[in-house]
Amino acid sequence: MYPRTQSDLVSPTVSAFALSSLLAASPAAEPADDTDLVEVSEDDVDEYGPFFVEEAPSDIEFLAQPRPRTLPVLSVGNGSFCFVEGTFCKASMILSADIGAGIRAPASDEGPDIPYAQFTFRGGFTVRPAMIRPNRSRRKSWGAWGFGLLSSWSRGTGSITQRGDAQSQEVDSTDSTTVFRIAAVNQMWLSKRNHAAHLDFTFGGARSDVLTSGEKLWGTHAELAMGFGGWGGMFLSGDFLDRDTRVVLGFRGHGIAAGPIVAMALAGLAAGGAL
């Protein structure tokens, strides 16, 4: 039978002797560390949870790393309103221009699918209703959810309709397509970095020319976009009207960046006599 524990083998006297010998060789006890007695202010008590965790600090940074800002870029009212959407903005202005291309799919008896392209100007605002501040001493607050109202105007390429059979086919076309939209956007901000990426889900109505009918009807507008701060992003957008569906993939830039592009393009066309 094997011994189960060391205490089964050793008499108390022997073990006490060995233990006292070891303890005699140990260093003397040091005084208690004073840092255990630091007083903590109530203002510095951090909340705990995923919404309160800030980005991990790093020992290295870009040479051009902006100084820690207490306020977002191009903001007023202590960050209450931003002219360029930002990670820590409580409310933001939306002003952008975009271009996109895709397909126009009429009803099957109205003709084949044709290419479609458009340029768009968009405006509106967003708010962040549920922003949480990590503690009272820090001014930056953050929340993943954003909500807003948007309106946009687009000029797209025209429509072609071909009705009837091969013997008696009626062909018609338009030069362009004008679209006006009003929609609500829900945003999900994906991080707390400056100019963070966010997913935008936009749903609303679109009023537009329908094929070659000459009629303007209301339809549904839906868009899924990924934005990078407020400076730009890419989107997949669709307008769904009666017998007329358009889906485009596009790129969007804030008005501060897109404005000069529009101005230069118009200046070039005008100076060249093309307008």
Partner: protein
């Protein structure tokens, strides 16, 4: 006595750090005066670590099929062998300059890395290796050699002509590869979406959206860089033409999605020499009437692309755009 040596060996193997031993000292001292308590104090050694060689498990005992192999006899140490232990430094650092040089050589670290202190221009609105994420607006002014594929029913008409090209783009820059010098980080490679407008003769205007790539070959403000962009391109509009090829108003014009790509060699975020091409897909579906069909086309171009904040690139692009409209007759 043999038992006490065994206990001492086990205690040494499980001896905590000095701090822990110090913290446990008062209790242990009192335990040394009480036999029962001493047994309790020794009880943590009931599960000795794997270093305890004398305790064998019953599982090993009850497997007669596996007989342990005899351990090899250690080689005897000859009286003539002598061993010495090299004395090291008494305290840190435990390495010297030669060790540091060896480590640098092993990992190909520069001995004296080039330090840069000046920051970027225009708060990173002009691309710079010192910047992380940024946005910029670029304008391209280029000579373009355009062509259009003829219609097989039209006798092989295949026009080619000299023209100009202006392109205005927004670039987003995301650092996808960086390098660290000291405690500073520099961007080596950026890759991000971009989009904008392209213009040529006859009021031809395309939209484009794609990706822009830039690889910095240095860390300075004027560091050379290689750029590569590729994008989908699609017709937005052009000047309508009458029966006698007379120029009409600028109107929206449909066209299938083509693509454009270019390579640039630049200095800093100032500008780059760009060589590229574009392809316009034909709109030639069988169901579409002939009057709406478009032929395949394309262009090669070489020019200069720069950030519009410098002024010059923007002026050059607008001037190229205007001159192209006035001086080039679209076939």
């Amino acid at each position: 006595m043999k038992l006490s040596v065994s206990v001492l060996y086990a205690l040494l193997a499980s001896q905590p750090d000095a701090d822990e031993a110090t913290a446990a000292q008062p209790d242990a001292s009192s335990a040394a005066t009480d036999g029962d308590a001493a047994t309790d104090v020794a009880s943590p050694t009931e599960d000795p670590p794997a270093a305890e060689p004398e305790v064998r498990t019953p599982a090993a005992e009850s497997s007669p099929a596996v007989s342990p192999e005899p351990e090899p006899e250690p080689e005897p140490i000859l009286d003539s062998e002598r061993y010495t232990v090299a004395g090291g430094p008494d305290g840190p650092p435990f390495y010297d300059d030669a060790d540091t040089a060896s480590l640098r050589a092993r990992h190909e670290i520069e001995v004296e890395p080039l330090e840069r202190t000046e920051g970027p221009r225009w708060r990173c609105l002009i691309a710079d290796p010192a910047c992380g994420r940024s946005v910029e607006v670029n304008a391209l002014a280029a000579y373009s050699f355009r062509g259009r594929q003829g219609d097989v029913s039209g006798g092989g008409n295949d026009p080619r002509w000299h023209s100009g090209r202006a392109q205005y783009d927004v670039w987003l820059n995301f650092p996808v590869m960086t390098e660290v010098v000291g405690n500073k980080k520099f961007t080596r490679m950026t890759l991000a979406p971009k989009g904008g407008l392209i213009a040529s003769d006859g009021g031809s205007t395309w939209g484009n959206l794609g990706m822009a790539f830039r690889y910095w070959l240095g860390r300075g403000r004027w560091a050379p860089a290689v750029e590569f962009t590729s994008a989908l391109s699609f017709k937005l509009g052009e000047n309508a033409r009458g029966m006698d090829n007379e120029r009409g108003d600028w109107t929206m014009t449909r066209g299938p999605v083509g693509f454009t790509a270019d390579v640039g060699f630049g200095l800093g975020g100032f500008g780059s020499i760009v060589v590229g091409g574009q392809y316009d897909s034909p709109f030639a579906r069988e169901e579409i009437s002939d009057e709406y069909r478009t032929a395949a086309g394309g262009a090669f171009f070489i020019g200069f692309r720069g950030n519009i904040l410098w002024g010059g690139p923007a002026a050059a692009a607008v001037a190229t755009h205007a001159v192209t409209q006035r001086s080039v007759q679209t076939p």
